[in-house]
Symmetry: C2
Subunit: 274 residues, 2 copies
Amino acid sequence: MAVSGLSINLATVRQQYDMRQAVEACLKLDISAIAPWRDQVHAIGLGEAARIVADNRLKVTGLCRGGMFPAADAEGLRAAIDDNRRAIDEAAALNADCLVLVVGGLPKGSKDIVHAREMVADGIAAILPHARSAGIPLAIEPLHPMYAADRACVNTLEQALDICDLLGGGVGVAVDVYHVWWDPKLYEQIARAGAKGKILAHHICDWLVPTRDLLLDRGMMGDGVIDLKRIRAAVEKAGFSGPQEVEIFSEANWWKKPGEQVLSTCVERFHTIC
Amino acid sequence: MAVSGLSINLATVRQQYDMRQAVEACLKLDISAIAPWRDQVHAIGLGEAARIVADNRLKVTGLCRGGMFPAADAEGLRAAIDDNRRAIDEAAALNADCLVLVVGGLPKGSKDIVHAREMVADGIAAILPHARSAGIPLAIEPLHPMYAADRACVNTLEQALDICDLLGGGVGVAVDVYHVWWDPKLYEQIARAGAKGKILAHHICDWLVPTRDLLLDRGMMGDGVIDLKRIRAAVEKAGFSGPQEVEIFSEANWWKKPGEQVLSTCVERFHTIC
């Protein structure tokens, strides 16, 4: 029986498997939805990755990741935009539901987050026509404010949706519980996103107490404090019916366990916790 | 010549000095504004702390800290409220500008941040009459969202100001750049706070890239990415004219240096960076 409604972001098992191995391990557990990272796709080649997806009729809930727009100079901005266009093409080849955008933080040496945010909106605007013609929705992923300096200066759903309002069709949001669970306006903004059909992905994991590393200490669902069922209910009520995508970066714990154990734990927690 | 406009939160030198020693070291540098923590006050006794403040005509920009309201049961809530009333009395004895509230996170075992936030608003409402009659303004300090689970479930200025609107006079906000610098609504909400006379304190330090510990890796002003001058200008334009209060928790760096070096660096950076 297929595990309906569950997708595995392949970063969750990136230390254990390449993309081909990860897909095999998912299929053994009847998981048929995945979200690969571009480096994982490149490692086996885009053609081979696309074949694996097509042959196994996989649902690709997103390709990670485009974005990283802010740059210190015009050349850097242009390079970022070119790279995002390639990412859109890769997402199309994989028949992905969306290209996830981690928009980027402050350029080196800058303290001007207001300007960084302008560069992000301009960058998304620049790639949007290509995304639309490729049929690939762009999913702005607001990242937790602790990543504002070095990974993403879009840090709340409200802010991401304001950018969506500015840019029109073809761009929405990825709702990752790790990044947004704390937000006092979470439920209001999920409803806002849903009303405009802007929820493109729903990522899950958990917030551990204590959290020992800003980047690589995400928890398995149920091991932390996020009210996953409540957020899921809000996301579904808002009209999103796609799979919940497990995305766990866990250097000291899950990345050290056998991949089969990680995936079977995801399935079990998905059924009991999410 | 007195260093006008600079206050030292004594947590900045808590590993080097007790309160008496810290005041002596500040006075040597002509710093005459401080903000002690309650444990530092208790260690030398409230009477002695009050004498030190009065004898040296120190400005106390805040007492840290009240708050920590959410509790798993009624007894815990009552204990928190009692403790906050004592904190108000201590702030009054020290002639502090405000009692800083770090409001508390999730009670043990809870995933219900919405309820925790209700307990916070109720707790502040419960102590507010005592604060008003003692003449001690309560400064809600929104903490960075990375502390939502374990330290403070009030995480943005907007949220804190919504609570202020609910509760009326005698309660405002502490604007700590470390906690709010990332906020897309920062300048809008500083203006909102100022228009209502709700800015009670302005704390400074810096956000390091990378940040190696969620709690104890704050940077000295100028060593990170926060646009301190821009925030200062906004806070002043909003009508706050009190000192900037340096509050740095730095286990691996500043807490290991001689106290005089830390304080003289604060003075130098205050003049050049802030």
